[in-house]
């Protein structure tokens, strides 16, 4: 079987994998199904027939409130944040050549949480909360970069230092919780486990714009990134300039994960699991960026649907659910890697 290519004249010729295209379409359908269910299920659900007018802003009464305030923003934020986490995870895992090199494990998400806590509650008025999360994430990554002694080129060191930085960041969050009032601490606790409850259209704009800008940037690096899977030396020999590529990829991945954290809180493990599931489904190498993003979007929207509608997880922050599922997966990964000797 040879490579299928999409061709147009002399200037365009792109390789296409039928299997990946089918999976991408299936995921897109899956996201639409979850979206429709999220809007229609439950006591306040919009009837299927009234859905189109509600989305187009033509309905009045309860449906308008359900879509405009309660569920619409939450759903759109969830989809885009999931996509951001999924793509970020794919970038990090490829650049570190290790499935554990995800923003969750290497301290980025915890750093963003610490930044959000610090600027959202402790030193209020200096920076808005999303910017605080960005500062926290960048500070955590700077610490990891310095702590390894060789930047992000050694995945093993990166993991160890990242776990340490993560612990420091969470300790700082605990400190912030002791400094603020009970009511604020409750709000913070909900944010810190990752929640999509009471999002606004403003949050949706932030995350959709971030994804719309950063995902194409990521796609532009993806061919060079793919060569880095074969080791820095081989990538350099093929002309892919591994040092510069790693720098750009890490910046884009930090941007995506931070944007996700700033609107959804540090939702655990979407970034870790989405690229891995995507890879197993496509059975192909490479960062699989688009599929990882779609998978992340579907996973987060699905998890949020479960927290809203299933009887055993009612109104839990969605991050608690993803942490339970993702935690089991992380355990499996650690055991598998331990056996292979690649931790």
């Amino acid at each position: 079987m040879s490579v299928t290519a999409l061709r147009a004249g002399d200037w365009l010729s792109l390789p296409v994998r039928p299997r990946s295209v089918i999976i991408a379409c299936a995921l897109a359908v899956g996201i639409i199904v979850v979206a429709v269910l999220s809007l229609t299920l439950g006591r306040l659900g919009i009837a299927l027939g009234d859905l189109a007018p509600a989305i187009l802003g033509q309905s009045t009464g309860p449906d308008a409130i359900v879509f405009e305030v309660l569920r619409g923003p939450r759903l759109t934020v969830g989809i885009a944040a999931g996509a951001a986490f999924g793509a970020s995870g794919a970038l990090f895992q490829t650049v570190t050549r290790n499935p554990l090199g995800s923003p969750d494990v290497i301290g980025l998400t915890s750093g963003a949480a610490a930044g959000a806590a610090a600027f959202g509650l402790l030193w209020t008025g200096i920076l808005p909360l999303p910017a605080g999360a960005l500062v926290g994430a960048l500070a955590a990554m700077a610490l990891v970069w310095l702590g390894t002694g060789r930047g992000f080129s050694s995945p093993a060191r990166m993991l160890l230092v990242g776990i340490g930085v993560s612990a420091m960041a969470l300790a700082f969050v605990q400190y912030v919780i002791t400094r603020v009032g009970l009511q604020q601490a409750t709000v913070l606790a909900s944010f810190l486990s990752g929640s999509l409850a009471s999002r606004t259209w403003g949050d949706a704009v932030i995350i959709w714009v971030s994804v719309a800008v950063l995902l194409p940037c990521a796609l532009l690096t993806s061919r060079r990134l793919q060569l880095m899977e074969m080791g820095d030396e081989q990538a350099d020999a093929l002309g892919a300039r591994s040092g510069a590529t790693r720098g750009w990829v890490v910046l884009i991945a930090i941007g995506l994960a931070t944007a996700g954290v700033s609107v959804a809180g540090p939702v655990a493990f979407i970034a870790l699991t989405a690229p891995q599931i995507a890879r197993r489904l496509t059975r192909s190498a490479g960062p699989n960026l688009v599929l990882s993003a779609l998978m992340g979007a579907w996973l987060l929207a699905l998890a949020d649907l479960l927290t809203q509608q299933s009887p055993f997880a009612v109104q839990l922050p969605v991050g608690v659910l993803t942490a339970v599922i993702g935690g089991i997966y992380l355990g499996y990964l650690l055991v598998a890697q331990w056996k292979k000797g690649t931790v």
Binding site: M1, S2, V3, A5, W11, L12, S13, L14, P15, R97, L220, R223, R224, Q226, L227, E229, M230, G231, D232, E233, Q234, D236, A237, L238, G239, A240, R241, R279, R283, S284, A285, G286
Partner: protein, 273 residues
């Protein structure tokens, strides 16, 4: 048998497509090669030998621009290699590192196709020229029937052939191979060397780092012997490889006899008295 002081003999411009002048190579300021000049004969099969940690692989990295020298220059077609764009270098010079990493769940064809990167653009990622190059590379390494297998399933010998196919798909005239026979059993070592020899016969310029002196003597048209970051001898293996040299460079007392098969020098270690 002394290393020539400057490539080209008399301090002029080197005549080879690939040459190095006054290289000083270091990792984190630990100097491995203090001052080295070498010229890679066009159309030759140059094999670099020397004891562990003598700087063989380091030299190869510098020649392929994957290691930046602290001083000196590598000249490609007469111009400093760092004045070319990275992809332009990769179209002329291909390098296979000592232990390249096979990406998870990659098929042989996909791996070989990655060698086409320097020929591709953002919008022209897969043309018929790419298809032809990949098919040709698979054929010349006898890997056509492996094309749809996963690289992880292959044996060591098959895997090395596939990696060489990836480098061939790059369609560069200069091939640099860092210890291509390491981790292979003896039959597969010769299989890889025969493949290299055939590629050389087809007109490519090869440079390889090898450990086995007898294999090096049999296949090299130009033998480069290194010790502690310096070239101590270079030239036709029949003239270069002597018992004194081996004892001096490797500290191994030996006798040299003609290889009964190829007539090239064969190093036989002496039994310690």
């Amino acid at each position: 048998m002394e290393a020539s002081a400057s490539p080209g003999g008399h301090g002029g411009q080197p005549r080879s497509r690939l040459a190095a002048l006054g290289l000083r190579l270091a990792y984190d300021h630990r100097v491995v090669v203090p001052d080295l000049s070498v010229e890679i004969p066009d159309g030759g099969f140059t094999i670099i030998v020397g004891p562990n940690a003598c700087g063989k692989s380091t030299l190869l990295k510098a020649l392929s621009r994957t290691l930046k020298p602290e001083a000196g220059t590598v000249l490609l077609e007469g111009a400093p290699i760092d004045t070319y764009r990275s992809k332009a270098v990769a179209r002329q010079l291909a390098m296979l590192p000592q232990s390249p990493i096979a990406p998870e769940s990659i098929t042989v064809r996909d791996l070989v196709a990655r060698g086409r990167y320097p020929h591709q653009g953002l919008l022209r990622q897969w043309t018929s020229a790419d298809e032809v190059a990949v098919t040709g590379a698979l054929e010349s390494t006898a890997s056509t029937e492996l094309a749809d297998r996963y690289v992880a399933e292959l044996s060591g010998g098959q895997r090395q052939r596939v990696w060489i196919a990836m480098v061939l798909a790059q369609q560069a005239d200069l091939l640099l191979l860092d210890e291509p026979t390491t981790f292979l059993d003896i039959a597969h070592q010769y299989e890889v060397l025969e493949l290299c020899s055939r590629l050389h016969a087809e007109g490519r310029t090869l440079v390889a780092v090898l450990h086995d002196l007898n294999q090096a003597a049999r296949y090299a048209t130009n033998l480069v012997v290194m010790k502690a970051g310096r070239i101590v001898a270079e030239g036709d293996p029949r003239e270069v490889l002597t018992a004194e040299l081996v004892e001096d460079v490797f500290g191994l007392p030996c006798v040299i006899i003609p290889d009964p098969e190829a007539g090239t020098p064969l190093v036989v270690a002496k039994v310690p008295a």
